[in-house]
Symmetry: C2
Subunit: 244 residues, 2 copies
DNA sequence: GTCTATACCCCGATAGAC
DNA sequence: GTCTATCGGGGTATAGAC
């Protein structure tokens, strides 16, 4: 029963809006169920059919929302990056409000711990974005902005520390000067090259710590993993010149 | 045509030996083909049927060699750990022979570079042992000895450095003391707790660097990756007290 | 947008003849 | 130890009716 145009200034839009809303709700439901299956079985096992089955739909119906399995994967990847980025930013913001003297070093450790906490809560989503690549899947460029959020946050923390006189870092290894300058120019032209390269290294090393814990490499080896991580993250902060 | 017993001292063994040899050859062929497919498609896509197809066998015949897909995976995992361990040990041994003054720091960097080199040459095998866990697979205890080889090598290097008066490390973060002592007792009772925990952290961090490169996280970010890694590995050596 | 039906693949694992 | 045949699942993706 299509009603007559009312006083709303954009009645066609109202209809479109309703459709768009319904579409968005179904899209969200699909992603939620896909995330559930991801958490249960891992990315390689994610299948459109299983998602459809669980939602009481038929598999072919999903193709109206995601043209292929890879598009669904891409959506999950972007969501995961955003979720991780939001968690890290929120932890940092909360710490800056309540924390006692939010020094750059403490902010750094706080953000690292937020990354770890998110990863432990969402192991399969973490594996999706920082684990082995999904075979046959190639991430499109559209994932880049979401993927950059945590990195930008870490850069900002280091920048704050080095704005008011940074801490000297060990000298650059012979031969790495050009790469260090390139990285600085790309990521943070205001930072010294040795800081830029240390930042990238610390970022990768942090994920080494997180992924080893999430992927079980610390089983029967590290017991008090929270304390271990706090200690190691403090070491990373030292490595980018945030301490002493 | 079974020949009469010859002068060989253990003729029955000769027959058994031939059977065993044939069996070993087929087993090796299966693993080789499986490794080939692993390199092409990743661990999640590895299938007994495809291996059998490629070898001109029928899938059911493989079950005489590997009772299940997981057993084949386990064999590949042990082989990968052993291959990596052998590469690291060989690089260290070669460096100690030819290298100019094999200091612990230089040995450390050499071993790290060997790990990186092996990983870049065998990305899927690296993913198999240090990437996201294969869904539904649980590694049996039989993988432990092979998995420990690189770790033992690194412990040995650090031990050598700290035998003749070690370098002081930053103090332990409050709350991590007990875990540090536990790790030291487990891994190297002769090393100070802060060295033991730094060693485990550096090990995980090294794999963060390697896996980021192997898994493509450095695409469009780090260009001169060999130089970058050498610099970062030197930083790791510093972190376990091997420098200055 | 959802449905049925279908084409055309894949897999692990086992039974039983040879 | 290898074979055929089979059980009993799984999957992506499309065509065409409604």
């Amino acid at each position: 029963m299509s009603t007559s145009r009312t006083s709303r200034s954009t009645p066609p839009r109202a209809t479109q809006g309703a459709r768009a809303r319904a579409r968005q709700e179904v899209t969200a439901a699909i992603k939620d169920e896909a995330r559930r299956q991801l958490a249960a079985d891992g990315a390689a096992e994610l299948s459109l059919r299983a998602v459809a089955r669980e939602l009481g739909m038929v598999s072919s119906a999903l193709y109206r929302y995601f043209p292929s399995r890879d598009d669904l994967l891409t959506a999950l990847i972007v969501d995961a990056y955003d979720s991780l980025g939001a968690a890290a930013e929120a932890a940092d913001a909360a710490f800056r409000e309540v924390g006692e003297e939010p020094t750059p070093a403490r902010r750094w450790v706080t953000v690292c711990q937020a990354v770890r906490g998110w990863a432990l809560e969402h192991p399969q989503e973490y594996a999706l974005i920082y684990g082995s690549p999904v075979p046959g899947y190639h991430a499109p460029m559209s994932t880049v902005p979401a993927a950059a959020r945590v990195g930008l946050l870490l850069i900002g923390i280091v920048r704050e520390a080095h704005e008011d006189g940074g801490v000297a870092l060990p000298p650059l290894t012979p031969g790495v000067g050009a790469e260090a300058r390139r990285l600085a120019a790309d990521l943070a032209p205001d930072l010294p090259p040795e800081v830029a390269i240390a930042l990238v290294a610390a970022w990768a090393q942090m994920h080494g710590l997180v992924s080893f814990e999430v992927f079980g490499q610390f089983n029967r080896l590290v017991e008090d993993r929270a304390a271990f991580f706090a200690h190691a993250a403090t070491g990373l902060a030292r490595g980018v010149g945030l301490m002493r």
